[in-house]
Every structure is written in structure tokens, then in C-alpha cells.
């Protein structure tokens, strides 16, 4: 059935192995066909589509309120940010003015999501490299975020909290208090992360100089997020094209120049700290007011096309809506960050060892449904 996986061994000291779709290291159902010589990787060929859920086709028949719901299933780790991007696009098209309060809440939620996502990445990456305990420590803090989310949004993962024109409900009365508690907790725990993983000699040896991606390649492959920033490409949408209130907060765009797995790791660790900074700036200043703009019952976008870029935990997410003026989009395209980042995998992994591939994959932080859509 799968003619694409029919592999012919032409040279006899090459070995072709499949990693995935069911493999603990591919974090889902990515299928990599790896050509090995000894244990040295000669070629990595990603095969996608094992979780292609035809979201783009489906969205063509969903209304602008409903399709946001589907978008949180793509990059479920940045569900809020995905929803945010969709909401922004619809707002841009329908020219809805979002109340300040909603913007603050959205940004706080985004940054919380980013921390949660990076925490999961951190644990899972350490697990890829064979350390199990970080996973548990990471989830300890992540659970706190999840609880905060659940309290306000009503769900733990696929919150569906952002709607065109604002957020679905107002924040929970305890929200600010709990977020502040979390910030305190997190600040004390992130040093533990450094003790356990960052400074660990084995970890450093396994990631430094591994999966190198040059700056030119990063741009040419369209990499975004931590992957591109680790190669020295400044590409934080929050800084370059600020949306909502990102232009009002001060934070640094973390840049590294090494371009290897360790640089990508350090970028994400730095981003968590920056996110904390952003939340700290916002959490006490949420203005009073509406949390949702008044919108029509049936949203319709004018004819034309609308493109929004936001920075998810994985990089730049683009939502491209082509509207014909109906209540449903004519065509939707999600430009997912993982898709482009994945295309650079071959470049990064070539010449490395299988163990290096795991380090590279781990620091790429792929979410496969995001790539397949």
C-alpha cells in the first residue's frame, strides 16, 4: 500500500530504517526514513500525513466562530496562541475592535501557554535524551498552569477560549492571585532545571555542536521560532510585527548564534524567563472593561484575503483566510511553524549519529498535528 516507503537498498553498506510513525522519540506520528551508514546518518526523509486531519478542508465549511475551535487541535500545545491568531485574522477582516481588557487577558494567556509548552518540550526533550526525571519536574509546574487555565477557560488543553472580538468569558476571580503564585513558584524551580539538565555535562556533550543549522540555511528553509533564533535570525513576530499589546511590554528577543541543539535549548529556556517577565508586567494592570466586543450573531468577512502572523511557542504561525464574503471562509491556509522547521531536519541531521538525531528532533520541538494539519 505504501509505495513511498518501498526502499531499495542500492549500496550494500547502507541501511534504511524507519523511525516512526509509532516511535517514542517522534512525539507523535512523524515517520522518518533514515539512511544509515554504520550509525552515521546519510539522509533523513520525513514522511508526513499520519495525522493529516484535513483541517483546512473542514474549516471551509465551518463558520468563523467554529473554526477557531478546530485550530486549537493543530498545535495543541499552543492552543491559545493558535486561537489568538485565528481570532486576530477574523477581527482584522471584520474590523472588530477588541477591548483592552481582552487584549491583556489574551497576551497573559499566550505567555502562560508558551511557558506550558516549553515546559512540556523541556521534559520531553530530556526524555528523548534518556533522562526521565526532568519530565516529571516539568509537568509539576505545567500542571499548575493547566489548573489556572482550567479554572478560567474550562478545559486543560484545548481551551477554545478566544473568540472573535475578545475572550469567551471573563477571567476567574482567583486568576491574578494564582498566576502570581505560579510566577513565584516557577522562578524558584527554573534554577532546578539548570541544575538537572542545562549544566549537566552529559547533556551538554550531547547537544553542543549537534544538528547545526547556519543562518543562511535557517532563512532559506523558512525556519522560525527558537530554531531560527538559535542561528541568529531575528524573527520574533511579537517584536517585529507586534499584535495586541505586545508593543506595550518590554521583553528581550533571545538570540544565539551557535545554531546547534544547545543554542536552541538555551533559547527556549530564555524564552520562559522572558514570558515570566511579560506576565509580571501585565498581571497587575489588567484594565477593567468588557472582555468581549459586541459582534454580530453571524460573522461575515468581506471579500479579500487576510493574513496574520503570530508567534507561537514553536515559531511563526500564519493564518491565511481567503473570503468570498460568506459566513464561511473560502479557503484557509495555516502556515505552521513546524512544517518549515521540519524541512530543515535533513540538513541538520546529516552526518550525525542516530543519537544526535534524537537531540536535534528534541530541540526542534515538533508537534506533528501542527505540521500535518
Amino acid at each position: 500500500m505504501y509505495t513511498e516507503t518501498q526502499i531499495i537498498n542500492n549500496s550494500n553498506d547502507e541501511l534504511v530504517i524507519n523511525v516512526g510513525p509509532q516511535h517514542p522519540a517522534t512525539h507523535g506520528v512523524l515517520h522518518l526514513v533514515i539512511t544509515l551508514q554504520g550509525e552515521t546518518i546519510k539522509k533523513v526523509e520525513p514522511h508526513l500525513g499520519y495525522i493529516h486531519r484535513s483541517i483546512e478542508k473542514m474549516c471551509e465549511s465551518l463558520t468563523y466562530r467554529q473554526f477557531i475551535c478546530a485550530s486549537s487541535r493543530m498545535d495543541y500545545l499552543s492552543a491559545h496562541i493558535n486561537n489568538h491568531a485565528c481570532a486576530l485574522t477574523v477581527e482584522k477582516g471584520a474590523q472588530i475592535e477588541v477591548p483592552q481588557r481582552a487584549q491583556y487577558i489574551r497576551v497573559i494567556m499566550d505567555e502562560l501557554t508558551r511557558i506550558a509548552s516549553h515546559e512540556l518540550w523541556w521534559g520531553a526533550m530530556a526524555m528523548d535524551l534518556g533522562a526521565f526525571t526532568p519530565f516529571f519536574y516539568a509537568f509539576r509546574e505545567r500542571e499548575v498552569i493547566t489548573e489556572i487555565m482550567e479554572e478560567t477557560c474550562g478545559a486543560r488543553l484545548t481551551m477554545n477560549y478566544m473568540v472573535p472580538g475578545g475572550v469567551m468569558t471573563d477571567i476567574h476571580p482567583d486568576f491574578q492571585k494564582r498566576v502570581k503564585e505560579f510566577i513565584q513558584l516557577f522562578k524558584s524551580k527554573i534554577d532546578e532545571y539548570d541544575d538537572l539538565v542545562t549544566n549537566n555535562i552529559i547533556f551538554q556533550n550531547r547537544t553542543k555542536g549537534v544538528g547545526h543549522l547556519s543562518k543562511e540555511d535557517a532563512i532559506s528553509y523558512g525556519c522560525t521560532g527558537a530554531v531560527a533564533r538559535a542561528s541568529g535570525v531575528s524573527c520574533d513576530i511579537r517584536k517585529l510585527y507586534p499584535y495586541d499589546i505586545y508593543d506595550k511590554v518590554t521583553f528581550n528577543e533571545i538570540l544565539e548564534t551557535a545554531g546547534d541543539s544547545f543554542a536552541r535549548y538555551m533559547i527556549r529556556m530564555g524564552e520562559m524567563r522572558e514570558s515570566i517577565k511579560i506576565i509580571e508586567q501585565l498581571i497587575d494592570n489588567i484594565p477593567e472593561g468588557d472582555y468581549q466586543a459586541k459582534t454580530k450573531a453571524v460573522l461575515k468577512l468581506p471579500k479579500g484575503d487576510f493574513y496574520t502572523r503570530v508567534e507561537t511557542a514553536r515559531g511563526e504561525l500564519g493564518v491565511y483566510i481567503v473570503s468570498e464574503g460568506a459566513a464561511t471562509p473560502y479557503r484557509i491556509k495555516f502556515r505552521s511553524p513546524g512544517f518549515s522547521n521540519l524541512s530543515a531536519l535533513d540538513q541538520m541531521a546529516r552526518g550525525g549519529k542516530i543519537g544526535d538525531l534524537m537531540a536535534t528532533m528534541g530541540t526542534l520541538d515538533l508537534v506533528i498535528p501542527d505540521i500535518d494539519r
Binding site: 519536574y137 550531547r206 538525531l357
Partner: protein, 358 residues
């Protein structure tokens, strides 16, 4: 002072008084078989349970606690389930070797038990080349893994087997060299001699820093030889799914699983014997009163206590560190451990010859 020594001797005497030597041998063999199998089963159950509990507490969780008090029957349930699970053989596998491999690892693990002194006088065979014998036998364990990896007809298995092959043979060297440091100090390979040489203090404390270095190297090498994280490349889950036992299921898999833990026990027992005095209670020089108090604790408890302490160390490693890459693993051995242990051995020799140790 009570010891198992007396019990074994009384059994021996009782039997020899009544039966002909052949029968005595037979009955003794049966006793040994039953004891060995029992030890295997109990050790397997306890060690797996212990590991899960240790892991859980390091990971701020509880670990098994629903099957029996504190989950102590968890591993029994697991074992029973594994026994009752279908043990399938892949079609493409070399069927004979595939089924033969678990036996090899089991036999190797069992044979290595022979010279271990579990308590004062409680030893199956006090072989005169004791530690050499153990390192010889444990060098066999790689064979089982190679057979298993090859016979499975699976790429992951084969890669895993080759990795562990290179790894185990490499680390045998530094393990052997650190064993040699103690041999130099005691001048005997026999386990009982080594234990008795530590009557006035364990080598770890008597032998200055070189012995401590040797001890550390031994622990590292033991971890590597038993394919434990951070050296568990043979079954590197995130790279090679389950490594050399990817295709094994049911009881055959359980045997590999068990053999891994038994091997840990054996290397730790050897480590405890060499560096921590085996069943020898904690003695300080010729401070007779203190030593006498210590003697009241049975020797078997001393032995198991020390062994389990080392096992705990190895578990601690596993739940803390990331896995090494294959080349780093080999570099660690060939660039660091081997030269250091060679040099260290010479240092210990000087100490031994000069009688600088206590």
C-alpha cells in the same frame, strides 16, 4: 554469634551421617537449585519494585501502591502476567537462537552467583580464582545480547546488540582493572580471602584515595556493563524502541528483564565484597569493643545492606542522568577511565608494596 554458617554445616553433617555421598550431593544440589531459583525470583521481584519506588520518590510521586500494601505485589502481578503472556517468535527470526538467547543470559546470571559470599560461610563455591571467575562469567553476558539482537531479524535489535557489544566489552577493561587494585592489596583472588582481609576495616576506607577512585570507576563500569542508564544504549528507548529485546515478549522478555536486575545485583555484590567488605561487619582497626558490637548484626544483613546501597546508587544514576551517545560512551571508557585506572592501579601497587594502607 549466629550465622548461616552453622546452619549449612549442620545440614551437611546431618545428611552425611545418614546417606551415601552421592545422595548427599544430590540432595544438596536440589537444595541449591531451589535456593538459587528462589533467590532469583525474590531478587527480581524486590529489585524491580525497589526501582519503581526509588524512581517514583525521586520524581515526586508515589509509585505503585494499589496492589498490596505499598504496592509490593505489583511486581508479582507483573511477573505472573508476563508468564501468562504469549511468547511469540517472529517468522523471520532464527527460531532456535531466538529462543536460546534468554537461556544464555539466564545461565550466565546464575553461574555468576557461584562464588558470591552471601553471609559468613554461606557461599556456593569458594572458588580459588573468585573475582577472576566472576569477571570471566560476566564477560559472557554480552553473548546473550548479541544472539538475541541478531536472531530477532529486526534492525533495531541488531543495532542495539552491536552497541551493547562494543559497550560491554569496553567497560570490562576498567571494571577488571579496578578489581585488580583490590587483588593487589589482598594478594588473593579468592572471595573469602578478600573478605577476611577487610577484617580491620573496609578497603574503601583503608586504601586511601586511589581505592576510592577505583571504587568510583568500578561503579561506573558496573553501570555500563549491566546496560543501565545512563549507559542503556542497547535498549535506548527513544532511539531504538526497545533495543535488542524489541521482538521479545512474554516470559522470554521477562527473562531478559530479570537477568538485567540479577546482573545488577551480582556486580553490586562484587563491588560490596571488594570495596565494602562483603559480609564483614563494620570494623575499625583493632577497636575491639566497637567491632564486637558490630558483630551482633548478622553478616547476611551486612552483605545485603551494602549490596542494596550500591544498587541504590546505580538506580540514582539512572533517574538523574541523560543517556550518553555511543561515541561519548566509548570515549569515556577509552580516554578517561582506562588510562586513569591503569595509572591508579600502579599507585595502588606502590601503596601495597610500601604497606602504606592501614
Amino acid at each position: 554469634m549466629y550465622s548461616l554458617h552453622a546452619i549449612t554445616h549442620s545440614i551437611q553433617d546431618w545428611l552425611s551421617a545418614r546417606l551415601s555421598p552421592v545422595w548427599v550431593l544430590m540432595i544438596e544440589s536440589i537444595i541449591v537449585i531451589v535456593l538459587a531459583i528462589g533467590l532469583f525470583a525474590v531478587l527480581g521481584l524486590i529489585l524491580v519494585w525497589l526501582e519503581r519506588k526509588v524512581a517514583a520518590h525521586m520524581q515526586i510521586r508515589l509509585g505503585p501502591n494499589r496492589v498490596g500494601p505499598a504496592g509490593i505485589f505489583q511486581t508479582s502481578a507483573d511477573t505472573l502476567k508476563l508468564i501468562l503472556k504469549e511468547g511469540l517468535t517472529p517468522d523471520g527470526a532464527d527460531k532456535f537462537l531466538f529462543n536460546f538467547a534468554p537461556f544464555v543470559v539466564m545461565i550466565v546470571a546464575m553461574l555468576a552467583l557461584a562464588p558470591i559470599a552471601f553471609a559468613n560461610g554461606f557461599q556456593i563455591w569458594d572458588i580459588n580464582i573468585g573475582v577472576l571467575y566472576v569477571s570471566a562469567i560476566s564477560s559472557l553476558s554480552v553473548i546473550g545480547i548479541l544472539i538475541a539482537g541478531w536472531a530477532s531479524n529486526n534492525k533495531y535489535s541488531l543495532l542495539g546488540a552491536m552497541r551493547s557489544g562494543a559497550q560491554i566489552v569496553s567497560y570490562e577493561l576498567s571494571a577488571g582493572l579496578s578489581i585488580l587494585t583490590i587483588v593487589v592489596l589482598t594478594g588473593s583472588l579468592q572471595i573469602s580471602d578478600i573478605v577476611h582481609a577487610q577484617q580491620n576495616g573496609w578497603w574503601l576506607f583503608k586504601g586511601h584515595i586511589p581505592v576510592v577512585i577505583a571504587f568510583i570507576i568500578f561503579i561506573i563500569a558496573a553501570t555500563a556493563e549491566t546496560n543501565r542508564a545512563p549507559f542503556d544504549l542497547a535498549e535506548a528507548e527513544s532511539e531504538l524502541t526497545a533495543g535488542f529485546h524489541t521482538e521479545y515478549s512474554g516470559m522470554k522478555f521477562a527473562l531478559f528483564f530479570l537477568a538485567e536486575y540479577i546482573n545488577i545485583f551480582i556486580v553490586c555484590a562484587i563491588g560490596a565484597t571488594l570495596f565494602l567488605g562483603g559480609w564483614m561487619p563494620f570494623h575499625i582497626g583493632d577497636w575491639a569493643q566497637f567491632n564486637h558490637v558490630m558483630d551482633y548484626i548478622p553478616s547476611s544483613i551486612w552483605f545485603f545492606g551494602k549490596t542494596f546501597f550500591l544498587i541504590f546508587l546505580i538506580m540514582w544514576f539512572r533517574w538523574t542522568f541523560p543517556r550518553l551517545r555511543v561515541d561519548q560512551l566509548l570515549t569515556l571508557e577509552w580516554k578517561y577511565l582506562l588510562p586513569i585506572s591503569l595509572f591508579n592501579l600502579l599507585l595502588v601497587t606502590v601503596i601495597a608494596i610500601m604497606n602504606w594502607h592501614f
